[in-house]
Structures are given as C-alpha cells and as structure tokens.
C-alpha cells in the first residue's frame, strides 16, 4: 500500500530545528561535564 508523507510546513521545520539546536547546546554542556568527571576519575591516564 502506498503511504503518503505529510508535508511539513515552514514553521514546523524551523521549530524542529530550534529544538535540535537547543538539544545540541544541552549535549555540549553535558558532555563537557562528563569529560571533567572522566578526568577526575583518571580515565585518560594511560
């Protein structure tokens, strides 16, 4: 059966992208904290 894709509107596309950039900033902060923690745990001492 053929499925029809729902076309996204300009505002939907832009809203989804804003959410992506918000999550990206969050990930940058989280992963920076994770690196600090790993350093504290001596994870890179090899």
């Amino acid at each position: 059966m053929e499925t029809t894709k729902k076309k996204r509107t300009r505002e939907e596309v832009r809203a989804a992208f804003r959410e992506t950039m918000r999550r990206k900033k969050e990930w940058l902060e989280e992963s920076t904290k994770q690196l600090e923690l790993l350093n504290h745990q001596g994870f890179f001492n090899y």
């Binding site: 992208f17 992506t20 989280e30 992963s31 920076t32 690196l35 790993l38 994870f43 890179f44």
Partner: protein
C-alpha cells in the same frame, strides 16, 4: 542504530578510542597535545524526517589541531565504523558558525571529508545560511550505495528550502 565495534575502530584509529561510560553511543579520546574529544551519534529527524544520526564533536577546551592527521584518522575510524554497521543510515553534521574562528573549526570536518581517501564511497551535501539571525552550517553524509539516498537528498533539500531566514531585499527607493 547498530552498535559500533570499538575493537574495529581502534584497529584504524591512531588515538585510543574508549566508550564514554556516562552516555550511550558516545566515545572519548585524547590527542598527543592533551586535547580531549567527545564524539556522539544521536538520532535526529529534524533535517531528514525519515531518520538520520547527528554526529556531534565536542572539544570543550577548543584545542587547535587542524594539522593533526592522527585526529582526522581517529574521527574517520568512528565514521567508517558507523557506516559499516549502519549502511542505510545518514549522518548529519550541524554547527553554528558565529565568528570566523568558529566557522573555520566547524567546516574542518567537512574539509577533512573532502580529502578523505575513501571520499568516493560517500555522498555529501552541505548548506549554510542564517536561521533566527545566527549563521548555521549543515552537512548530510551517506554511503552512495545507500538505497535510501534519493529520499534522504529530497528531504534534506526540502528542509533547507524552509529553514533559512528569508533574504531581505534592499530597495533602491529613497525613504
């Protein structure tokens, strides 16, 4: 996403890549100059609605290493293994490119990609423009053998056509 094989990554990567114990689908390594990197692959359907994985690179201390070929080959060992395990997926790379330095850093990944020995195996398309007044840079990467490639390109193009701020037309008329 199929899990990446760390032993395969490390057969090719000049730097020792480890799994990030604090996150899923995330890898860490340290370069000869002591610069630490976190790499992440996260599902993202905002650009390609049928599905893609966003390739995130975090270098929190912004260590400069454009000439470090070991860094390039370590990152590509992860990229290669992603496509080995997920041949019908697409990889998305996106970044804000605020100032010149940021812009240079963010495009480095794509520049490396274009000089990569196995470049012919991949399709890559980039786009750059302003969104809400901020410059952003996007790239979509897929194996050319990916059966989903036409759909991925179509969806990427459609998203880009909507994404960027409209260009303000300058009027020649006097106020």
């Amino acid at each position: 996403m199929n899990t990446l094989r760390l032993d395969f990554i490390n057969k090719r990567a000049p730097y020792l890549v480890k799994e990030n114990p604090h996150a899923v689908n995330s890898y860490v390594f340290k370069t000869d100059t002591g610069t630490e990197f976190v790499i992440s692959l996260q599902e993202n359907s905002s650009i390609v609605p049928s599905g893609a994985y966003e390739f995130g690179i975090n270098n929190p201390h912004h260590g400069r290493s454009p000439l470090d070929t070991k860094l390039k080959y370590t990152i590509f060992a992860i990229v290669e293994e992603f496509f080995e395990q997920n041949g019908d997926e697409a990889m998305l790379y996106l970044a804000e490119t605020g100032d010149e330095k940021q812009s240079f850093r963010n495009r480095l990944f794509v520049r490396w990609f274009n000089t990569y020995e196995q470049r012919d195996m991949y399709f890559i398309k980039t786009a750059e423009g302003k969104m809400d007044g901020e410059m952003i840079f996007l790239a979509i990467i897929s194996r050319i053998t990916n059966p989903r490639l036409p759909e991925i390109i179509e969806e990427f193009d459609e998203t880009i056509s909507f994404l960027f701020d409209p260009i303000e037309e300058k009027s020649d008329e006097l106020p």
